[in-house]
């Protein structure tokens, strides 16, 4: 009941607000989004940022997970806790640290000038780079852990079989472990992508005015320009994108479990 009243009803309300202005049905807000340069740019930026951050997380995270999969169980648990430790710190605080590290008078700039590498402090904060660094730091643990699960799911015997049939470790990895774990890693990527779409704190604090994402635009439209219908359209677009990713995710996991039981039945 609580979920119904506090979740379904409001979310449904937002969805209807996009096509209904209180008295009659209208397509006006949706049309405004289509014609608004700002919304298009921000929407585009949100998806590009999400895709880039996801790609970085996957490329950085997979080798991490592969290393962890090769550890003895006890050590692996320790490594997992190490990865999870930053996960328990609030996102606000983790983002805040990047302000201290990347600012003009920040730790990184001081270190660079102390080493004589830069004369002037370089602009790191309030750039897209800062947003990417902050988001990767927050999302990487999730990707590493999903990659780890999918690598551990790969049957050890298959690697042994490949090795006994003459494959080098490198070949065994690229022909057996990687193909069998890549779809599991992809599901981690989808989760990461979905979470990226809704990021609010990090782009606000690290991105400055030129790299706001969709969540910031919704906030602006509600609190500054008071264009609620536009905010509702953006929120609905965000929601639909999330659902699309989820459907894709379910398709992928279903196929994977069929493959695991059907294709690799012992």
């Amino acid at each position: 009941m609580l979920a119904a009243v506090l979740f379904v009803y409001p979310v449904f309300g937002v969805l209807t607000l996009t096509v209904h202005d209180g008295t009659s049905f209208t397509a006006e807000p949706v049309r405004q989004i289509y014609t608004s340069q700002l919304s298009i740019i921000v929407l585009q930026r949100t998806f590009v940022t999400a895709a880039t951050v996801t790609a970085i997380c996957l490329v950085m995270g997979y080798p991490m997970a592969y290393f962890m999969a090769g550890l003895a169980p006890r050590k692996r648990v320790m490594a997992t806790y190490l990865i999870l430790l930053p996960f328990w710190i609030s996102i606000l605080i983790r983002t805040y640290t990047w302000i201290i590290l990347l600012g003009r008078e920040g730790v990184l700039n001081k270190a660079l000038s102390a080493l004589g590498l830069t004369g002037e402090p370089i602009q790191l904060l309030y750039t897209p780079v800062a947003v990417h660094v902050g988001m990767v730091q927050i999302l990487l643990p999730i990707v590493v852990l999903t990659c780890l699960t999918s690598i551990l799911d790969v049957e050890r015997d298959l690697v042994k079989a490949a090795r006994s049939l003459g494959a080098t470790p490198r070949q065994a990895f690229w022909k057996v472990v990687f193909p069998l774990s890549v779809s599991g890693a992809a599901t981690g990527g989808i989760i990461c992508f979905i979470l990226c779409l809704g990021f609010y704190v990090t782009p606000t604090l690290l991105g400055g005015r030129t790299s706001i994402l969709i969540a910031n635009l919704i906030d602006l439209q509600v609190h500054k320009t008071l264009k609620w219908d536009l905010a509702a359209v953006m929120a609905s677009a965000l929601l639909l994108a999330t659902f699309a990713c989820l459907l894709f995710y379910w398709g992928l996991t279903r196929k994977r479990s069929e493959f695991a039981t059907g294709g690799l039945a012992r």
Partner: protein, 266 residues
């Protein structure tokens, strides 16, 4: 060879993930008016500042009240939901499960906007009870997932034995399954509490003038870099790491205890 490269890589990336922790602690111990790293002289000045500043204490109190309220609510409703989802057999189970997990997945800015619109209509903005309800909503997925996961592992023969010995359904559940679930409930309560304690976006939208601790930090960040914030951040981090560790230890110990007592599966 490859292993060594991977180990070095793992160490570097883990360092990147732990960067906030590594820098925040020394910065919070500075004696100066400004944030500096490394601090020139050490003191607990900014920790003292926190405990003597009424606005920080008020914000903490508001967060605590909401957090405790949200934990109780989400634990109550979440546990009931988990029992229903695991035990009952009905058609819409899949949809309902998805619905209970949904607040965790959909972007919080969408939920924030949706709740804001509804709460404005119901005149519930700037109301601590409404805020507590909203926090309970976002904390509930953790309870549902963890308690349901634990309940699935419960050995039903024990409960059936109680029924055969004459206990009614409710009594049998309370005396057999409930003790088994208690540690999971405890662990999920801790997670729920911190989910509420960390929540920022929804609070920013619907809190009106109420300041929770994250909102207080947020407001501070947009004005200046106040050295009190790192001190608050370190304390918060310590509290959440300790809290989560206790929850995890309790959950694990319970699992081990029941593992050794339950009949091995055929």
């Amino acid at each position: 060879m490859t292993r060594i490269v991977l180990a070095v890589y793992f160490a570097i990336v883990t360092g990147f993930l732990l960067l906030p922790l590594i820098f925040l602690v020394p910065i919070s111990l500075t004696d100066s008016q400004f944030l500096e790293f490394p601090p020139t002289s050490l003191s607990l000045r900014w920790y003292r500042e926190f405990f003597t500043d009424q606005s920080w204490l008020d914000a903490t109190l508001v967060s605590l009240k909401i957090g405790i309220g949200a934990t109780i609510l989400s634990l109550l409703f979440g546990t009931l939901a988990a029992i229903a989802l695991v035990r009952a057999d009905f058609r819409a189970k899949g949809v309902l499960t998805a619905l209970f997990i949904a607040p965790l997945i959909i972007p919080s800015v969408v939920l924030a906007l949706a709740l804001y619109i509804v709460f404005l209509r119901w005149r519930l903005v700037n109301n601590i009870y409404a805020l507590t309800l909203a926090h309970a909503l976002i904390a509930m997925p953790y309870v549902v997932m963890i308690v349901a996961g634990s309940l699935r592992r419960f050995d039903m023969t024990i409960e059936r034995a109680a029924r055969i010995l004459g206990a009614g359904p409710a009594r049998a559940f309370v005396h057999t399954a409930l003790p088994f679930l208690t540690p999971a409930m405890f662990a999920s309560a801790i997670l729920a509490f911190f989910a509420s304690f960390d929540e920022l976006i929804i609070t920013l939208f619907i809190s009106g003038g109420l300041q929770t601790l994250p909102v207080r930090i947020w407001n501070d960040l947009s004005l200046k870099l106040d050295p009190t914030v790192p001190a608050v951040a370190v304390m918060l981090t310590l509290v959440s790491i300790i809290g989560m560790s206790i929850g995890e230890i309790v959950r694990r110990r319970n699992e081990l205890r029941y593992q050794t007592h339950s009949v091995p599966e055929a």
